[in-house]
């Protein structure tokens, strides 16, 4: 947990230090992060509010892409600061895209199967887990 968030914290603190004009020039990725955060929020909102499963899938894609954006941004940042393992973020992104594609394929299959069985793809109609 800590290790996952350390770069982010460092970054945040770094950007703060940047802003405090310490002298060392570092790329400013805060805009990327803000956009990613907004994307994530939009995705979450979509998941929580929409009834159509396909739209929920699309919202999940937004969430994933928010994460991708973060990965790319941090990767770039680390590259600039001369970090050796900086390419890992881009590799992750590719992975996530692949997994998302697979997930979409399977998910759509499930949706079709579901529709055949229950003639609906609205999640509030599929409340089999209730009690």
């Amino acid at each position: 947990m800590n290790s996952l968030f350390t770069p982010a914290l460092m970054l945040l603190q770094g950007s703060m230090l940047d802003n405090m004009s310490e002298g060392i020039q570092r790329p400013d990725i805060s805009k990327f992060l803000i956009i990613a955060a907004l994307l994530f929020a939009v995705g979450v909102a979509g998941v929580l509010t929409r009834r159509n499963i396909i739209v929920i899938f699309m919202s999940i894609e937004l969430i994933l892409n928010a994460a991708n954006l973060n990965f790319i941004a941090f990767s770039r940042y680390l590259q600039e600061t001369g970090h050796a393992n900086a390419v890992a973020g881009q590799v992750f992104t590719v992975f996530i895209i692949v997994v998302a594609a697979a997930e979409a394929a399977i998910g759509l299959g499930l949706v079709i199967a579901l529709y055949r069985n229950r003639e609906t793809i609205f999640v509030d109609k599929i409340d089999l887990l209730k009690w």
Partner: protein
């Protein structure tokens, strides 16, 4: 070679195991089963022969026990210390080793084999005669479905019988004893799908249980008295125990009790009055079984046991008398029944009972050696006659009724001539084997010093011998001579006695028997059947299913594809024929033995007044195992024992004095040493070197037939013996003459005399109704008792049990109610309360809507992030806000 005798019982056991366990699974063909069975017994016979020769030349007269040189030994029952509770006074009186043994006896029953004079003879008889019978059975049982089973049982029997005679202690004898009883049961009931075979096997088994009970008690008494079961140790102690004479201070003591128990066992196994009833019924088994078990070997186990324990029997004059009287009565009783039976095997069965009676008579009058001699000769000629009868039955299409035979001499000459030898042997015609042993029995009965009234025993035995000659001649005449009646009377194998009786009473035609044949049921090819046309007859009479057809059914099962199936083709037109070689070869071998086998015990009168031949003479051979009451030692003549006697004199001096106190040391007037030097144990040695010779039990001799005859004939012992030989031959000749008169020369006489002696004839024909008597007195009462016990059991015991069960059920009903109402109520109440309280809350959480769950997840995420990073995020936000404000400002 005698070190390897442990192989002798093992080989038949292995053969039986292979045949019995693998024979069915792998469907051994008859050739393989027969080869395994015959091969194992042949090997056992060869080993026995080599062992006995080796033993006789190296160890005899000492007994050889395999544990003494470690050839074969195994502590079978490590019993530990035993307390001797019986025979304390006798032990004290005996003194010496016996008294010392009283303390600290240890009962360790070992499994080891003993080879001595007695067991060697039995080994040779069992394996030798057994070999002949195994070979015969391969022919006789040909085509039987249970071929492998038959040979497995036979092999198991050989094993048990060999353990019985070769064991070195009473426990092993008991194992063998029960083993042969089991095998007898299995083999009598071999045709288990027939009721009378099953009934006969159960009868044999149950009757033997009565005897075995006595035997077991005797073994317990032996343990309680001597603290060991090993023969050598028991007899060494018993040797010096005081003798219990009828006139003496102790008439009936511990030795008599032991002897009584043993004799009850012997009565059961050897078919003596009153336990003989099983043996005639045992003829329901296959004929080779009758020959091996119920004539040659198993039924002589009682003789073996009595002779083995002769020291115990000789210690009790009362029991010697009992043995002699039972033997003599059985001999006469069974012989008179044998006269009127029509089933060829029944005649032989009663003849066996009668001959066993002769043997017991010999033992009872002190001539144990002669008893064993008769066992041997009887094994030869009776096995021969049974196998001959089997050959006849085989040829006659399992017809056993002699009235439907006749004239078979022409058709089966080999069987006829071998049977002829057996006939002369059992009648006691010189020089056939039976003559030598039977004559010796009669002579010993007449001259006995062991029991009083020997002349009466002799008279009974002589009458029995006459009957023997008569009924055997009758059997020969009806079977082999005369008209070929099977051409007139229809054959069909219903020679059962119920049928025969009904037929004789004129109430039935030949095919209205109510039960199937008692006889056995071997396989016959269609071309082997005999008798008049039968299919027409059976169709006309409409005989009940399974009465006549039992043999045919079996046959059909054998050859399902045979178009000329037995059940459908008419009997007749095909004549009986000689049996195959596998059947007449054993007959020939036994015929030779039956002819010359008696020369090993040739009468002293023929051989210059002594038992010639050294240890090759059976009388001398067996001498070392026979206790001599006059000296208190075993045997009389071996130098080793004579020297041992000298060394032992001091030890037993007191005992000798006690014994002779009442005897007055009367010199023995019968056979003196010169004339009869090596007589059996029945004759105490007299003459120069044995000054202490005395009557076995002291006291005055009453009337003694032999002595009187000797006196009349001028005090010549040899003359007296010749007199009895002539008498014995005369009565045999008279019996044969009578037989010829009745059944050859004047065939109408039997009917006439049956009329004239009506009651006697019917009594004999109905076997004196002993079976019915036992049925009424014992069997019926036992059944009544069983029924009463059953009633008590079902009413009282079951009632109590059921009552208890009812009570338990009521109680459980109460506790069940309590449990349901109180305990479950409490638990359910609490649960219901909790449910009532919590369910709306928890239920509401489970909306089933995906969005709700996702929301909770997001909230959880936010909460988690807030908890962990809340302050940092807050700080950043604050500074950012501050910056923004700074910008703005």
């Amino acid at each position: 070679m005698h070190r390897y005798i442990w192989l002798v019982p093992l080989l038949p056991l292995l053969g039986a195991a292979v045949n019995g366990l693998l024979g069915r699974r792998f469907r051994f063909p008859e050739r393989v089963v027969g080869a395994i069975g015959v091969g194992s017994v042949a090997l056992a016979f060869l080993i026995s022969l080599a062992a006995v020769i080796s033993y006789g030349s190296q160890v005899w007269p000492r007994p050889y026990v395999t544990s003494e040189d470690g050839a074969f030994s195994y502590t079978w029952i490590p019993g530990g210390a035993v307390e001797l509770t019986q025979g304390e006074a006798e032990r004290a009186q005996a003194g010496g080793a016996a008294a010392a043994h009283g303390q600290g006896a240890v009962l360790d029953v070992e499994w080891s084999y003993q080879l001595d004079a007695l067991s060697s003879i039995f080994m040779l008889i069992i394996t030798g005669v057994g070999l002949c019978i195994f070979v015969f059975a391969t022919g006789y049982m040909h085509g039987d479905r249970g071929f492998y089973r038959f040979f497995a049982y036979l092999g198991l029997f050989m094993f048990s019988m060999l353990v019985l005679v070769m064991g070195s202690n009473f426990m092993m004898m008991f194992v063998g004893w029960e083993g042969v009883g089991l095998c007898s049961y299995l083999l009598i009931g071999y045709y288990f799908d027939r009721k009378e075979a099953g009934d006969a096997s159960r009868k044999a088994f149950i009757t033997n249980r009565i005897g075995d009970f006595g035997f077991a008690l005797a073994v317990f008494a032996v343990i309680a008295t001597f603290g060991t079961t090993q023969y050598t140790a028991v007899f060494e102690q018993a040797r010096s125990f005081p003798v219990e004479t009828v006139m003496g201070p102790v008439t009936w003591g511990i030795m008599s009790w032991i002897a009584l128990g043993l004799f009850v066992g012997a009565c059961g196994k050897s078919a003596q009055i009153p336990l003989y009833v099983w043996l005639p019924d045992a003829m329901a088994g296959p004929t080779p079984v009758s020959a091996l078990i119920h004539a040659a070997t198993m039924v002589t186990a009682g003789l073996y046991m009595v002779t083995r324990c002769n020291v115990i029997f000789q210690h009790s004059q009362a029991m010697m008398t009992v043995v002699a009287v039972v033997g003599a009565l059985t001999a006469l009783f069974a012989a008179t029944i044998g006269i009127t039976q029509n089933d060829i095997k029944k005649v032989l069965a009663y003849s066996t009972v009668s001959q066993l009676g002769f043997m017991f008579l010999a033992c009872g009058v002190g001539a144990f050696v002669i008893g064993i001699f008769h066992v041997m000769t009887h094994a030869f000629f009776k096995a021969l006659m049974f196998l001959g009868a089997g050959s006849v039955i085989h040829a006659m299409h399992h017809e056993q009724d002699m009235r439907r035979m006749g004239g078979l001499k022409k058709y089966m000459p080999k069987t006829y001539w071998t049977f002829f030898a057996g006939w002369l042997a059992i009648c006691g015609i010189i020089p056939f084997s039976g003559f030598w042993s039977k004559d010796e029995i009669l002579w010993n009965a007449a001259s006995t010093e062991y029991v009083s009234g020997g002349w009466l025993l002799w008279g009974i035995a002589t009458v029995a011998a006459t009957c023997t000659a008569f009924y055997m001649t009758r059997l020969m005449a009806l079977t082999f001579w005369g008209k070929e009646r099977f051409l007139e009377v229809r054959a069909g194998g219903q020679a059962d006695e119920a049928h025969a009786q009904a037929y004789a009473d004129g109430e039935a035609t030949p095919h209205t028997a109510v039960t199937p044949s008692v006889g056995d049921r071997p396989h016959h090819g269609p071309e082997e059947s005999v008798g008049a046309a039968h299919a027409l007859e059976s169709a006309a009479v409409g005989e009940p299913e399974g009465v006549d057809a039992h043999g045919h059914d079996i046959h059909d099962r054998h050859d399902p594809g045979d178009p000329a199936g037995h059940g459908h083709h008419p009997h007749g037109s095909v004549l009986p024929h000689e049996s195959p070689r596998s059947m007449w070869m054993p007959l020939a071998a036994l015929a030779v033995l039956a002819t010359v086998g008696g020369f090993v015990g040739i009468s002293p009168a023929f051989a210059g007044g002594a038992h010639v031949g050294g240890r090759l003479n059976i009388v001398n051979w067996l001498d070392p195992i026979i206790w001599n009451p006059a000296t208190g030692q075993f045997g009389k003549h071996s130098p080793a024992q004579t020297s041992a006697l000298a060394a032992h004199d001091k030890q037993t001096a007191g005992h000798e004095a006690v014994k002779q106190e009442g005897s007055h040391a009367a010199p023995l007037p019968t056979r003196t040493d010169d004339e009869h030097g090596t007589a059996g144990a029945g004759h105490a040695p007299a003459g120069g070197e044995h000054a202490a010779a005395a009557l076995p039990y002291g006291g005055e001799t009453r009337f003694n037939l032999a002595h009187s005859v000797q006196h009349v004939l001028g005090d010549s012992h040899t003359a007296a013996e010749w007199f009895f030989i002539v008498v014995s031959l005369l009565v045999a000749g008279f019996g044969i003459w009578l037989g010829f008169l009745f059944y050859v020369w004047r065939p109408h006489l039997p009917g006439v005399w049956a009329q004239r002696l009506g009651p006697l004839y019917r009594a004999s024909f109905n076997k004196y109704r002993v079976d019915e008597l036992y049925g009424a007195v014992f069997t019926r009462r036992t059944m009544d008792a069983a029924r009463a016990v059953y009633a008590a059991d079902s009413k009282v015991i079951d009632g109590a049990v059921n009552g208890a069960a009812w009570l338990t059920r009521q109680l459980s009903r109460f506790t069940g109610a309590t449990d349901r109402l109180v305990v479950d109520g409490a638990v359910n109440g609490v649960a219901g309360f909790v449910k009532l309280l919590m369910s709306p809350l928890l239920r509401a959480a489970q909306t089933g809507l995906t969005a709700n769950y996702a929301l909770v997840m997001i909230l959880g995420l936010v909460a988690g992030v807030g908890i962990f990073f809340g302050p940092e995020i807050w700080a950043i936000l604050r500074s950012a806000i501050g910056d923004m404000f700074a910008f703005a400002l």
